[in-house]
């Protein structure tokens, strides 16, 4: 059995597609788990996307933290006798999966980019050394726990002819001693850098938050543009919501065109954009490492270069 869990429904569908492939190879089944949401329609949606079974898991607790999620998943792994567990690699999945692995005394690979059987052994690939290498790891334990980032695998197309079983499980969970006392939602424009075709990305070279308008102008001139940023812009200065954050600890993007403005090009940033089509860098320091990762570069002050580039692009468009 392959067990699937993510609190993001789109990611769940992508994991089901991968789970389906692995299950078909071994003649087993795919079971998806939904925690704390008792809704047949949501369950059916997962069946139409390839899940053989959906478990709607319910408990009598209100708050879920990694400590409780782990208990729920452990019970379901044991109940379904799962050999493989696929978990979405967002921040919540990444703190649940290793804890679950420790509870089950088994192996775990986080942020897996490819997963397959080789000579009957489950093999997982993941990025290592900030994108300088790919590590290929074999599981020598079961169940094998894997976290997979969103957009890594394509979901199966929806087929309402697919049939599956919906079951409900009431589970007892011991409440953890820690408590969530507040959740604040920051404003979000719902940008999705992962799907962007063109990204104009801003770094510490910008002196003020308002100056990011320059990048916005360029993004508009390029028409299909979306704004991205380096970690300090989102995490330290908080000039942009973290939806825009690109890199090892942010989002991984592959646009056709990536324009890095005032970004030094530290390897943790490169890790998030190295698969981009064409890379353009604008930086006043000719020795900035970003130029090594760029196809085209201009050495200069972004405050002079960007407005002129906007003009030149507009002219080029005619």
């Amino acid at each position: 059995m392959v067990l699937i869990y993510s609190d993001d429904k789109d990611t769940t569908k992508e994991l089901i597609a991968k789970g389906r492939e692995l299950a078909d190879e071994t003649g087993s089944k795919v079971t998806s788990v939904i925690i704390g949401e008792d809704d047949d329609e949501v369950a059916n949606e997962l069946i139409y996307h390839g899940s053989d079974e959906v478990i709607l898991a319910n408990t009598d607790i209100e708050q879920f933290k990694a400590e409780e999620y782990t208990q729920v998943l452990k019970k379901l792994v044991e109940k379904t006798d799962s050999e493989i567990v696929l978990i979405g690699s967002d921040k919540s999945g990444k703190e649940i999966a290793p804890r679950l692995a420790a509870k089950l005394e088994t192996g775990c690979v986080t942020d897996c980019t490819d997963l397959y059987f080789e000579d009957g052994t489950l093999t997982a690939e993941r990025v290592a050394y900030s994108g300088n290498a790919v590590a290929v790891k074999n599981f020598i334990s079961e169940p094998s726990i894997v976290t997979i980032p969103s957009k890594n695998f394509d979901p199966l197309s929806k087929d309402e002819g697919r049939e599956g079983e919906i079951t409900r499980e009431e589970l007892e969970v011991i409440e953890a001693e820690s408590k969530i006392i507040d959740v604040q939602e920051k404003e979000s424009e719902g940008v999705n850098v992962e799907d962007a075709e063109i990204i104009v990305s801003c770094g510490r070279g910008f002196e003020n938050q308002e100056d990011l308008d320059l990048a916005e102008d360029l993004s508009e001139a390029l028409e299909r543009g979306t704004i991205g940023c380096s970690r300090p812009i989102a995490a330290d200065l908080k000039w942009l919501p973290e939806d825009h954050w690109i890199g090892l600890s942010g989002h991984e993007v592959k646009p056709e065109l990536y324009v890095a403005i005032g970004i030094s090009g530290q390897i943790q940033h490169i890790a998030g954009m190295r698969d981009s089509g064409t890379v353009v860098a604008i930086n006043k320091d000719e020795d900035a490492p970003i130029f090594e990762s760029a196809d085209y570069g201009i050495v200069g002050d972004l405050y002079e270069v960007v407005p002129k580039l906007v003009e030149a692009i507009n002219e080029e468009k005619g």
Partner: protein, 257 residues
């Protein structure tokens, strides 16, 4: 308040080159350092000690090539370091078991601090695994901590633009992001003063009551190299440079929607 901080030295990832013949990353000869995230964990421990007293022990699994790295953490303000040698075959299961075992062996630890992940492989497994093995709560990705006598309150960025505030009694495992603080640079005085702080070396058999087996194995590691054109436009006039750039962007069909 007694604190254990898990910190290790890692290769400087920005120095890694790929061996063209074997297509493997060359790790030999690359300088090793304790990364900023783990230094931030040490810094946070020191701040807590300054307010509440107690002992700070640095725990590291693996051989330490450069003792100066451990000494730097002691000079910052940690009291003691323990270097644990792993069995020949090791993975996150083994490392976490050893760290959790060492925390139990030391005893009376209120708080275990780790980085959100270490910079070399960025798996982020060790913190949550230790929390489970010790059967205590976890607060991951903390970017702010408020320490009180009976409880700790952490703010964590949980993604999806949500900031969650979690409180926990002790003992607890906390992983921090590098935004939580700026780690201090020890003064020369502190570096000299740390020379006599103990660095202990432990073998697993000395404190583990059970055998630990790895659950995954590294089958291969292959290099990824990136080929880029690396063309810099530097005409006398900036107008000409941006024009060249715009033309090239257009030539690649990027201006067509």
């Amino acid at each position: 308040m007694n604190i254990a901080v898990c910190a290790k030295e890692v290769v400087d990832v920005s120095e890694i080159k790929i061996d063209e013949k074997t297509n493997k990353p060359i790790l030999e000869g690359i300088s090793k350092e304790v990364n900023d995230i783990e230094k931030s964990a040490v810094e946070e421990a020191i701040k807590i000690k300054e307010e509440y007293g107690g002992e700070i022990t640095i725990l590291t699994v693996g051989s330490v090539d450069n003792m100066e790295n451990m000494k730097e953490l002691l000079a910052m303000g940690a009291d003691e370091a323990v270097i644990i040698s792993p069995p020949e075959e090791s993975d996150y299961t083994v490392v976490s078991e050893l760290l959790a075992g060492a925390v139990e062996e030391i005893g009376d630890i209120d708080l275990v601090l780790c980085g959100e992940a270490s910079i070399d492989l960025f798996s982020g497994q060790v913190g949550p695994r230790i929390a489970e093995l010790l059967n205590v709560p976890q607060i991951t990705y903390a970017e702010n901590l408020d320490v009180e006598e009976e409880k700790i309150v952490g703010e964590r960025d949980v993604g999806g633009n949500k900031i969650m505030t979690v409180e926990s009694p002790y003992p607890v495992v906390v992983t921090v992001t590098k935004e939580i603080n700026d780690p201090r640079l020890p003064s020369l005085q502190e570096i000299l003063g740390a020379a006599n702080k103990p660095i202990n070396e432990w073998g697993p058999k000395e404190f583990m009551d059970h055998e630990i087996e790895p659950t995954t194995e590294m089958k291969d590691i292959r290099g990824v190299s990136m080929e880029r054109k690396n063309i810099i436009f530097d005409e006398d006039e900036l107008e000409d440079s941006v024009k060249n750039l715009a033309e090239n962007i257009a030539k690649e069909g990027l201006l067509e929607g």
